[in-house]
């Protein structure tokens, strides 16, 4: 008799999802899916709203990465306005986005994944959480909390709120940076450097002990995509898209937001409310790709900051060509954090950072606009259409988690097929399947969006579990 293993909910994620694993009569895995079970609907209820409301409206999608939505949304609005924002405003937004990346990555690495990395994937789940980390290695717990506070404090200083800040608007930001705030952020930097070095040193010591997981945690050839500067360094707020293949060859480069729909398509599957993005020239699902920390490091030649560049060099020595195992997302995430701290310091030394000109103004000059930015977990696109009065008539969001969706599902299947044999599994094995998803740090509240008519499949089950009826749309 066939059997289904259900992991519901998948724990230590941002949002709610579940995993189902189908076994054949011999108890071997035939298929597995990662389901995102919540639906949101932001694209629909923003219709009819003035376009300039979109950044603050869209930021409510998520409590973890609202800044990325603010930035991508503001950029889409600026495309509608046909304006270029002042240099200082662009730098301040970049700093805000990096601060968010640092705090979000700290949450993912320290709060959600470090219990597995420190205590072991087979350790007692009753202790496999942040409390266990605090008891076993308090300096790691303190480093995580310190980095979270570093990012959140900067967000609060700039945007006046730790979660769902305002400040970023179409045209720039609402107010310039005050000298006292600049000095306050500068004073936070030494502790942030110290905390990320603790984490990086520790991770590099223990990474080799996870060699067997590295082999089967979404370890397969795929495309990688992210934003990059003209000098081939990592970029979080501006830049253009680059896509590389599994061997590292560049197959798309310099793709600006206005052109992203030429190369990115979206598919839907009946088992998830998250869309599945793909590279159009290869079709779906062959054109599936990965975004986020691993992709950013795979596509870039440099980080553009001295300490992170040293780390990137070591990282790239782990493989010939792009690193394929999603386990390496953890390492890449820490390098991202180091880069973020360094880049914030660089931005604060910009002689124009206190400049008062931080906002450009205009009305509707185009009826469609798109913006893109790097969210902590990968590239994010907002695309809007408006009428002559600037009211939204259509909106679409392409979220990082949707872009990683196919790779997450493939990764879950790969791990399940490797670990579950003859119907035998342990809690530690199921935790490994969950941990594959955690490497991507998916943000499920961000990712749940309708596109066209979502497929719907309802199964009516008797109390015995027998299938009584099905309805499909």
């Amino acid at each position: 008799m066939t059997q289904t293993i259900t992991i519901d909910p998948v724990t230590r994620l941002e949002g709610h999802g579940k995993v189902t694993i189908q076994l054949d009569e011999q108890g071997n895995v035939t298929d597995a899916h990662f389901h995102v079970t919540q639906v949101r609907g932001f694209e629909r209820f923003c219709e009819g709203r003035p376009f300039y409301e979109m950044p603050s409206l869209m930021a409510r999608i998520c409590g973890i990465c609202p800044v990325s939505h603010l930035v991508a949304s503001a950029k889409a609005c600026e495309a509608i306005m046909s304006i270029r924002i002042p240099h200082t405003a662009a730098q301040l937004r970049r700093m805000l986005n990096l601060a968010q990346m640092v705090q979000s990555h700290a949450l993912s690495f320290f709060h959600l994944s470090s219990p597995d990395l420190l205590l072991g994937l087979d350790s007692d789940p009753a202790h496999r959480h942040i409390f266990g980390v605090a008891a076993a290695r308090p300096e790691l717990g303190r480093a995580g909390i310190g980095l979270r506070r570093f990012g959140q404090h900067i967000i609060e200083l700039l945007g006046n709120k730790r979660i769902h800040p305002g400040w970023v608007i179409p045209g720039g930001v609402t107010e310039p940076l005050a000298p006292a705030k600049r000095d306050e952020i500068l004073a936070l930097l030494p502790e942030a450097y110290s905390n990320i070095q603790i984490a990086l040193n520790w991770y590099k010591q223990i990474a080799d002990t996870f060699q067997s997981e590295i082999e089967v945690f979404a370890n397969f050839p795929s495309l990688f995509m992210g934003l990059i500067n003209e000098d081939e360094s990592v970029e979080f707020t501006d830049g253009a898209l680059r896509v590389i293949d599994a061997k590292g060859a560049i197959i798309e480069d310099g793709v600006t937001a206005t052109r992203f729909t030429e190369i990115i398509g979206e598919a839907v599957e009946p088992y998830s409310y998250t869309k599945f993005a793909y590279y159009k020239p290869l079709g779906y699902p062959q054109g599936s790709y990965r975004v986020g920390p691993l992709a950013r490091l795979n596509i870039a030649q440099s980080m553009g900051t001295p300490l992170a560049d040293i780390e990137l060099k070591q990282f790239k020595q782990l493989a010939l060509g792009p690193l394929q195992s999603s386990f390496h997302y953890h390492h890449a995430r820490l390098i991202d954090i180091l880069y973020g701290i360094e880049k914030i310091e660089q931005i604060l030394s910009d002689p124009l950072i206190l400049d008062k000109h931080v906002r450009a103004t205009a009305g509707v000059n185009r009826l469609e606009g798109a913006g893109q930015a790097e969210a902590p977990r990968g590239t994010l696109m907002h695309n809007y259409k408006v009428d002559e009065n600037g009211l939204i008539t259509w909106a679409n969001l392409v979220i990082a988690t949707g872009q990683n969706n196919n790779a997450m599902n493939r990764g879950v299947l790969q791990a399940a097929q490797h670990y579950i044999q003859n119907g035998k599994f342990t809690e530690g094995i199921l935790n490994r399947v969950e941990a594959v998803v955690r490497t991507f740090d998916p943000c499920l509240s961000c990712s749940s969006h309708a596109f066209g008519q979502m497929p719907l499949h309802i199964e009516l089950l008797a109390s015995t579990g027998d299938l009584l009826d099905t309805v499909s749309r």
């Binding site: 709060h111 009753a126 942040i130 409390f131 308090p138 303190r142 506070r149």
Partner: protein, 167 residues
């Protein structure tokens, strides 16, 4: 963590969009206005308590947690002592109560407030709605009296000298 320990930290929790769940933030708002010039008191209000707050707690000589309760009778306001959690099973990253925060503060920073109290008000309704239910609204004066009294006790226990602006 700041260099100078704060004599009294008031830490509120609740969602003001879920009716009586907003009692903690509502009391924190009152406290912020009432003790706005009192440097001995620091007030933080959050929709949910997270592990990051452990460092704030470790830097405080005393702490007063403010929250609604679904176990107390609706409108019943009470103050209880809080001790660090000992049973750690079943924890998740989406909810930390006052005992868990105290134990995290101790484990991570080796420091904990000398005294920790929890002021709760029993919820009558947690529906999607801004504002408090009539039952909890009626209990607000009693809750404020308890809040004033608890802060007064905590400050006297820490030996913090009085401030001209404190009431």
């Amino acid at each position: 963590m700041g260099a100078e320990p704060i004599p009294c930290l008031i830490l509120a929790c609740g969602n003001t969009l879920r009716e009586d769940d907003g009692i903690g933030p509502r009391l924190a708002e009152w406290a912020a206005e009432h003790w706005r010039s009192d440097v001995r008191i620091r007030i933080l209000s959050r929709q949910q308590w997270t592990p990051d707050l452990a460092s704030d707690i470790a830097a405080a000589q005393s702490v007063l947690f403010l929250d609604c309760s679904i176990e107390s009778n609706p409108g019943c306001a009470a103050v209880h002592p809080v001790h660090p959690a000992t049973a750690r099973s079943g924890l998740n990253t989406h909810h930390f109560g006052a005992p868990e925060l105290l134990s995290l503060s101790r484990d991570l920073y080796g420091a904990m407030p000398r005294t920790a109290l929890l002021l709760t008000v029993g919820a009558a309704s947690l529906e999607f709605h801004e504002g408090l239910s009539a039952t909890v609204q009626a209990a607000l004066p009693r809750a404020i009296d308890l809040l004033k009294s608890a802060v007064c006790d905590l400050l006297s226990n820490t030996g913090a000298t009085s401030q001209s602006h404190s009431a």
